[in-house]
C-alpha cells in the first residue's frame, strides 16, 4: 500500500530544489537535501543515523586514544590500537558521500526507493556494535583451555560434597633453649603403642638471623602410620605453633613400614622479646600426622547447598502463593470483557492494566534490591520481589484467560434458568480453571527458577551461596550449587509440563 503510493506522491509534489543543489546541501548537513526533496522520513533517518554514528565514532576514538594530548595524537593512537576504527572511518566517509548522491537522486525523482544506503547504515551500526561490544571470537577459542580447569571443577564437584573425619597422631618433645647447667627435660612418658618422639640433644641454640645456624637435633619418631606424611612443628614458649622450615621448605617426613622415622631438625630463628629474661625456655617440638578415617560424611558445603536449595524452593512457592491470591481479584479488574460496562469500570481496567505492565517490565532482581532496603537481607526480600512480579505477570495471564472465555456456554447456562451464581459455576469456572491452573504452575516454575538467582543480590536462597563461592574461586563448591539449581529446575520443568498437560 505504502509502497505504491509513494512514487505518486513524489510525482505530485516536485522537489523544492534542483538535484545538484540537494546533493550539495546534503554535503553541508547530511539529510538536508533529502528534506528539501520532500523525502522527509528518509532525510530524518539519514540525519539521525549520521549524527549518532559520528557521536559514537568520537566516543570510541577518545576511549581508545586515552592519555595522549592533541586531537591528531588521539586519533593516531586510536587507529594504532583499534584498526577496526579505520574501517569504520572509511565507511563513514563513503556514507557521507553516498548521502549527498542520494539527495541528488531523490531530488531528481528517480522511480523507487533505493535501499542500498539504508543497508549501509545497518552495516556501519553492526561494525560499530562489534567494536563497542569488544567482540573477540579469537579469544573465545584460544582462551578456552584456561577455563577448562574451573569448568571441570564445576562439572564434577562431588569430591567437595563429602569429608572424612580426621584423626591426628601427634607426639610432643620438649626442647630446652638454650642449654644451661640444669638438665634438659626428659623424654616424656609416652603410653604403650602411642606415638612417641625422642630428640638428641634435648637442648640447643636458636638460629641467628644472617649468623650462626642453630643446634641440629636428631628427631626419632615411632608408632606412626607407615607411608603417611608427618609434619614437624614447633611451639614456642608463648604457645605459638608454626611449621618447621628448612631451606625454604616445610619439614616433612614419611615413616617407614614400622611407622618409624628419623630426621634432623635445626632450631629455628626467632626474635626473643626484651621481656625474655629467664635463663632458658622450653620449646615443644611436635610431629603430627593427619589421617582421614571412617565413612564419608556430607561436607559443610553440601549441607549448606541442601539447606539453601530448600529455602529457594520455598521462596518460589510462597511467592507463587501470595502472587496467586492477589492476582486473582486483580485479574478480574483487568479483564476487558468484564470491565467495559461503563466508563468508570473502563478507567479501572486501564489503570490495572497500566500498573501491571509497568510492574512486569521491571525485573524481579530489581524488585529484590528495592525490597532489601525495606526488609533487609534474607529470603523475605526475595519473596516480596517475586510476589510483586508474579502479581503483574499472573494478573495479565489470568485476565487474558478471562477475556478469551467463550460466551456461548454462559448464554446456554443462562437460558436454562440458572441464576448468577450457577451461571458462574457452570458457565465460567469450568472455562477458566484449566488456564488458571496452567498459568499458576507455569509461574511457580518461573518463580523457583528466579529464586535461584534472586540470592545473588541478597534475596535469600542458593543464589547467595553460588555468587559467594564463585567470588572465592571455590569452583567445586559453586559447582555443587549449580548442580542443585540445575536438578531442581529440570525436575520442576518436567513436573510442571506434566501437570499442565493433564489439566488442559
Amino acid at each position: 500500500m505504502n509502497h505504491r503510493k509513494k512514487p505518486e506522491q513524489e510525482e505530485r509534489k516536485p522537489s523544492l530544489v534542483p538535484p545538484y543543489l540537494a546533493g550539495l546541501l546534503s554535503l553541508v548537513v547530511p539529510g538536508l537535501g533529502q528534506f528539501l526533496a520532500r523525502t522527509y522520513r528518509r532525510g530524518a533517518i539519514l540525519l539521525g543515523s549520521f549524527i549518532s554514528l559520528v557521536g559514537l565514532m568520537i566516543w570510541r576514538i577518545q576511549l581508545a586514544g586515552k592519555r595522549v594530548e592533541g586531537a591528531l595524537e588521539i586519533i593516531q593512537k586510536a587507529y594504532r590500537l583499534r584498526p577496526i576504527l579505520i574501517v569504520l572511518t572509511v565507511l563513514m566517509v563513503i556514507f557521507y558521500l553516498w548521502i549527498a548522491y542520494d539527495a541528488y537522486l531523490m531530488a531528481k525523482r528517480t522511480k523507487g526507493t533505493p535501499l542500498g544506503l539504508i543497508f549501509m547504515v545497518l552495516i556501519i551500526f553492526f561494525i560499530m556494535g562489534w567494536q563497542i561490544g569488544d567482540i573477540n571470537p579469537v579469544a573465545l577459542v584460544t582462551d578456552l583451555d584456561e577455563a577448562a580447569g574451573p569448568l571441570s571443577e564445576v562439572l564434577w564437584p562431588w569430591e567437595r560434597a563429602v569429608t572424612y573425619p580426621e584423626e591426628e597422631i601427634v607426639a610432643t618433645m620438649p626442647i630446652q633453649v638454650p642449654c644451661t647447667e640444669s638438665a634438659p627435660p626428659d623424654v616424656p612418658d609416652y603410653g604403650e603403642g602411642e606415638p612417641r618422639l625422642e630428640a638428641e640433644p634435648r637442648c640447643g641454640q636458636l638460629s641467628e638471623q644472617g649468623g650462626e645456624t642453630g643446634t641440629k637435633i636428631t628427631l626419632h619418631g615411632e608408632n606412626y602410620l607407615p607411608g603417611k606424611t608427618v609434619n614437624i612443628l614447633w611451639e614456642d614458649p608463648i604457645g605459638n605453633e608454626f611449621r618447621a622450615r628448612q631451606g625454604g621448605e616445610y619439614v616433612k617426613v614419611v615413616p617407614d613400614e614400622n611407622g618409624e622415622f628419623t630426621i634432623d631438625i635445626i632450631l629455628p630463628y626467632r626474635l626473643l622479646p626484651p621481656s625474655a629474661t629467664e635463663p632458658f625456655y622450653i620449646w615443644d617440638l611436635k610431629a603430627r600426622q593427619v589421617t582421614s578415617l571412617g565413612a564419608a560424611q556430607a561436607s559443610k558445603e553440601l549441607k549448606l547447598a541442601i539447606e539453601k536449595i530448600i529455602e529457594t524452593i520455598f521462596i518460589g512457592m510462597m511467592a507463587t502463593f501470595f502472587g496467586v491470591i492477589i492476582a486473582l481479584p486483580v485479574s478480574f479488574l483487568a479483564a476487558r470483557n468484564l470491565m467495559s460496562a461503563n466508563k468508570f469500570t473502563l478507567i479501572i481496567y486501564y489503570i490495572a492494566r497500566g500498573i501491571m505492565n509497568i510492574v512486569r517490565s521491571i525485573e524481579p532482581l530489581i524488585w529484590a534490591v528495592i525490597a532489601l532496603i525495606v526488609v533487609g537481607l534474607g529470603p523475605f526480600a526475595g519473596i516480596i520481589a517475586l510476589t510483586i512480579h508474579s502479581i503483574a505477570a499472573l494478573g495479565k495471564l489470568y485476565s487474558e484467560a478471562i477475556e478469551s472465555i467463550d460466551p456461548g456456554p454462559i448464554e446456554a447456562v443462562q437460558a436454562t434458568g440458572a441464576n448468577w451464581a450457577q451461571t458462574i459455576m457452570y458457565g465460567v469456572v469450568p472455562q477458566i480453571i484449566p488456564p488458571f491452573v496452567s498459568f499458576t504452575i507455569y509461574r511457580w516454575d518461573i518463580n523457583i527458577r528466579m529464586s535461584t538467582i534472586i540470592g545473588m543480590v541478597g534475596g535469600g536462597g542458593i543464589g547467595f551461596l553460588l555468587i559467594q563461592w564463585m567470588r572465592l574461586l571455590d569452583y567445586k563448591a559453586a559447582g555443587i550449587a549449580i548442580w542443585f539449581i540445575t536438578i531442581t529446575v529440570a525436575i520442576l520443568d518436567y513436573v510442571s509440563a506434566e501437570i499442565r498437560e493433564r489439566f488442559v
Binding site: G408, P409, A415, T416, G417, Y426, P430
Partner: protein, 267 residues
C-alpha cells in the same frame, strides 16, 4: 401459545436488528424462521428467552409477558423454554453428564449445585435423555471429545432436562453436514410430534424447511418478508425461495430427501 407483538431491537451501536415484528405461534407448531445471516433470526430467538433484552414490544407466553419479566420470575419462565445453539454452546471441558445436568439448574437449589450435587431423580432423568438421544455411552467423556452431531445431541438433551414446552433452536444444523442435519431435525420433529413441544427454529436450507416445518416466517433486515403455511412452502420452487431469501439460498443436497432410510433415519 407464543405471541410476539411489535417487537423492536436496537443495539447500543445503533444497529436495528428487529423492526416492529409481530407473529403468533400456536402450541405444537414447528415454526421455521428463514433468512440470511444478519437478518435478525438469532436476535429474535434470543429476545424470546431474554438472553437479549428487546427495545420495545411484548412477548406473551402462556399469558405472561416475557418482555417485562425480571429476576426470579424471568428465570422461572426460562426453565420452560429450552434452547439449542448453532455452536452447541457446551462447556467443552466439562463432561457430557455435567453439561446435560446443567439443564436442570433452574429447578435445583443453588447451594447443592455449587457442590455439583443433583437430585437422584435429576440424574435418572439425565440418563433417560441421553438414552433417548442414543449417547448414553458417552456420558462421562469430555464434551469436546464428541463429534459435532453428538455434541448437538448433548445440547438437545440439556434442553430436554428443562421439561420445556417451547424449544428455541438457533440454526441447530448450520455447523453439521447434511446427514447429521437431518438426524438432528428428526429428533426435533419427534419432540414436536411425540412430546407436543412447540418448536421455533431458524434454518438456512429450503429442503430442510420443506421437510420439517409446519409454518414458515421469512426475515430480511429485521422485518418479516414472508409468511407461509406447510402447504405453501412445499409448493415453493427454488426461484421463489431465492426471491424472499436472497441470492445465496441453496439446497443441502438434491435427492437426499426420500432416501433417509439409507441413513437409518427415516420412519
Amino acid at each position: 401459545m407464543l405471541e410476539v407483538k411489535n417487537l423492536t431491537k436496537i443495539y447500543d451501536d445503533g444497529t436495528v436488528a428487529l423492526k416492529n415484528i409481530s407473529f403468533t405461534v400456536e402450541d405444537g407448531e414447528f415454526l421455521i424462521i428463514i433468512g440470511l445471516s444478519g437478518s435478525g433470526k438469532s436476535t429474535l430467538l434470543r429476545c424470546v428467552n431474554r438472553l437479549i433484552d428487546p427495545t420495545e414490544g411484548d412477548i406473551i407466553w402462556d399469558g405472561v409477558n416475557l418482555a417485562k419479566l425480571e429476576g426470579e420470575e424471568l428465570r422461572k419462565a426460562r426453565r420452560q423454554i429450552g434452547m439449542i445453539f448453532q455452536h452447541f454452546n457446551l462447556v467443552r471441558r466439562s463432561s457430557v453428564m455435567t453439561n446435560v445436568l446443567s439443564g436442570r439448574l433452574g429447578y435445583s437449589p443453588t447451594f447443592q449445585t455449587m457442590m455439583h450435587q443433583f437430585k437422584k431423580s435429576d440424574r435418572e432423568k439425565a440418563w433417560q435423555a441421553l438414552e433417548r438421544l442414543g449417547i448414553e455411552d458417552q456420558a462421562f467423556k469430555r464434551a469436546d471429545e464428541l463429534s459435532g452431531g453428538q455434541q448437538q445431541r448433548v445440547g438437545i438433551a440439556r434442553a430436554l432436562m428443562q421439561d420445556p414446552e417451547l424449544i428455541l433452536a438457533d440454526e441447530p444444523v448450520a455447523s453439521l453436514d447434511p446427514v447429521l442435519a437431518h438426524s438432528i431435525l428428526t429428533y426435533l420433529e419427534r419432540l414436536n410430534q411425540e412430546d407436543e413441544m412447540t418448536i421455533v427454529c431458524s434454518l438456512h436450507y429450503l429442503d430442510l424447511v420443506q421437510r420439517y416445518s409446519t409454518r414458515v416466517l421469512g426475515l430480511r433486515e429485521g422485518e418479516i418478508v414472508y409468511r407461509g403455511t406447510r402447504e405453501e412452502i412445499r409448493a415453493m420452487t427454488d426461484e421463489e425461495f431465492q426471491e424472499i431469501y436472497g441470492e445465496q439460498a441453496q439446497r443441502v443436497t438434491g435427492g437426499l430427501e426420500g432416501n433417509l432410510d439409507e441413513f437409518g433415519l427415516g420412519e
